[in-house]
């Protein structure tokens, strides 16, 4: 059964993994996006994810359904978190399973690439030096292209604009 959720609770990878897999499946793939301690070469202390929660849930469901079509099965589960996350915490978990591995890799990749393209979620990196900055993002397809990523960059915190 296709499962898609945008929520503020801690993501349990085992729980997401347990939502996929059936006797018909020979391949299961779990992708975890994790908050890492650096961005390019800049030390990061944590990350805040904001979400347009209601819409993000709908978009994520659509992406999961599209992935299921590519996968050829309904075994797709994806959970995206929002709120304040520490280094090492899971921001997104994507589990898929299918009879053959080829489709599993493709569908998993499809979900992560599409959600980066379309999911109304934003992340602000907190740097070790005290500055926080919204991460440059993507203009979603089907919208005006005048929202230049660079135009919305903004820095707050002790370091001021960076």
């Amino acid at each position: 059964m296709i499962f898609a959720r945008v929520a503020s609770e801690v993501i349990d990878p085992a729980e997401v993994l347990a939502r996929v897999g059936s006797d018909r499946d020979g391949a299961t793939l779990l992708f975890l996006g994790v908050v890492r301690d650096h961005a390019d070469d800049r030390p990061v202390s944590g990350m805040r994810y904001d979400a347009y929660e209601e819409m993000a849930g709908e978009v994520l469901s659509k992406i999961a359904a599209e992935a299921a079509e590519r996968l050829g099965t309904d075994r797709v589960a994806v959970v995206h978190r929002f709120g304040e996350l520490a280094i090492g915490e899971v921001s997104v978990a994507i589990a898929v399973s299918s009879p053959h591995r080829e489709e599993a890799y493709e569908a998993s990749r499809y979900v992560i690439e599409q959600l980066k393209e379309r999911l109304p979620v934003w992340k602000k990196e907190h740097y070790v030096d005290g500055v926080s900055e919204w991460v440059e993002g993507n203009v979603p397809p089907g919208t005006a292209s005048g929202a230049e990523p660079v135009a919305v960059g903004v820095a707050v915190g002790t370091g001021g604009d960076a």
Partner: protein, 83 residues
Amino acid sequence: MSVPVHTLFFAAYRDRLGLSELTVELAQGATVADLVAELRGRGSPFDILPEQPAVAVNRTYAMLDEPLGAGDEVAFIPPVAGG
């Protein structure tokens, strides 16, 4: 007769405007472009909004010529960065 539209601001827009939502009265037949012009016309801080912003109308991505009706929810969507 004016048309009330519910606007939402997220992430960098929210930070820079200092507000997360606003109800705007538009003329009948107004489009997203008219809403943008109305807001940007207010000057600072609304002039930080792009002339051609990405928006979602009632939770679906939309272009600037999308017509708006009473009670529509228009979200200004900075470039997205999930994952």
